[in-house]
């Protein structure tokens, strides 16, 4: 009975924590970007102010799928958060595994694609096609990376991967797996959709792509979705390669380090064209992940 109550508390607590961390990262991103550009920057709570404003506005809907698609992508993200351990808070991580996470991570771009497709704005169609092509680009190396991790630790459970790393050493500093870790860090901007891979939401080219028709509540939900995606992709990196953490605070600090490193890439690089992005994603990260997988297989056999 008590474990049941603890589990339910964790199920409620974990998405809330993820949301707080994600929104904090959004605010921090704007502040750090501003400081890199030698500006003062907005207050740290600017995304919260924006969201309060957006929730009070009356959005324009373009049909039922337009409403439901964004909720679908939000739901997909929340489910992934439940499977990811955040320090010791890991509500569903015993039942799921890396394969479930891999499948559920696809729901977020698909939901956005469904929702945007209803908008009937040519910029949205271009943005969605770019986003799906980009996810095709990073899914291949991501699958290879996860395969390498699963083969190395002989498990699909993310909790066991974390505990194995805590008993030995982090996989980012162990021999064959650091190639996979490097590869994950190289595709991280593509998963987050930040520069140099912000092809799908390029405001100057295609009027922010899939977001072009979102206003009011829809934009607020899309921002929350983005916060969740930020949390998921960085938490996955910390869990797989930086050894997770014993408590949420250490975990958060590790996430912060990874995020700030990613932001420095974001602040100084221009945008790829979509075919350049695919060429890059299928060349270096895929090569690294593949080499790492082959070495691990060779050691195992």
């Amino acid at each position: 009975m008590e474990s049941m109550v603890a589990k339910i508390t964790q199920i409620i607590l974990s998405p809330v924590l993820a949301l707080i961390v994600g929104v904090f990262f959004l605010g921090l991103a704007r502040k750090i970007m501003a400081r890199i550009h030698w500006r003062y920057g907005p207050p740290l709570i600017q995304p919260v102010i924006d969201m309060i404003k957006l929730f009070y506005q009356k959005g324009v809907s373009h049909g039922r799928i337009f409403d439901l698609g964004i909720i679908l992508s939000l739901a997909g993200s929340i489910v992934v958060v439940l499977f990811l351990p955040f320090g010791r808070i890991a509500p569903l991580s015993n039942s799921g595994g890396l394969l479930v996470i891999l499948y559920m991570m696809l729901l977020a771009p698909l939901g956005m694609a469904l929702s945007g497709g209803q908008g009937a704005n040519p910029n949205i169609s271009i943005g969605i096609s770019r986003k799906l092509i980009l996810s095709l680009g990073y899914e291949a190396p991501l699958l290879l990376i996860l395969l390498a991790v699963m083969t190395h630790y002989k498990t699909i459970s993310i909790v066991e991967v974390v505990s194995a790393q805590q008993s030995t050493s982090w996989s980012i500093i162990s021999f064959p797996l650091f190639l996979s870790g490097l590869s994950y860090f190289l595709i991280l901007p593509a998963i987050l959709g930040i520069r140099p891979f912000d092809v799908s939401s390029a405001p100057q080219e295609i009027s922010s792509g899939p977001m072009a028709e979102y206003g009011g509540k829809y934009l607020a939900l899309a921002t929350i979705e983005h916060a969740f995606v930020l949390f998921i992709s960085i938490a996955l990196f910390v869990n797989l390669f930086l050894g997770g953490a014993a408590n949420p605070f250490i975990f958060f600090v590790k996430m912060l380090v990874v995020f700030v490193l990613g932001l420095c890439v974001n602040a100084v690089f221009p945008r790829f064209r979509i075919e350049q992005a695919i060429k890059y994603l299928w060349k270096w990260p895929t090569l690294l992940a593949f080499v790492s997988l082959i070495i691990i297989m060779a050691i195992r056999s």
Partner: protein, 182 residues
Amino acid sequence: MDRNQITKWLKAPAKMANKYSLHAIYFCTGCGIIEVPPVITARWDAERFGVIPVATPRQANLFLITGYVSVKTLRAIIRTYEQMLEPKYVIGFGSCPINGGMYWDSYNTIKHLDKYIPVDGWIAGCMPRPEAIIVAVTHLWTLIDKDMANGYVKYRENYEYYRRNQELALGKLEWPPLYPTE
């Protein structure tokens, strides 16, 4: 944030959030666009006031009209304004949207922008300095505080007047009325 601000936030969160999160869409009709980049980038950094440029009218609630308004761009301005979500604020930047400016005699520009869409504030000058946008934003905050930046309400209430003026300038309009007339 002092105590006064916190009570204001608790009393009217929507109004305060509108104040501090003005997402601007700017319409570079001719001149004036060169004044906008210094404001949003490192020189005068409007982001510390919560003002950021956005790409589409759906996400915007501050409409910056810089420079003269030709009849052709008036059409696009009206359509953009009608796509924005309420509450929405309009600032005319430069003397040409105020009264025609140096294009008073032109056959191809309109003289008074506020006959066609409601304008909440003006920045006079030809051209105004980029800092003037920041001053205008702080003045707009005062107006929002006193509930005086209600151009969008005026547009809804006097829609027939605005629609008639728009039709006088542009001829037949190919889009349906935003609010029911009659």
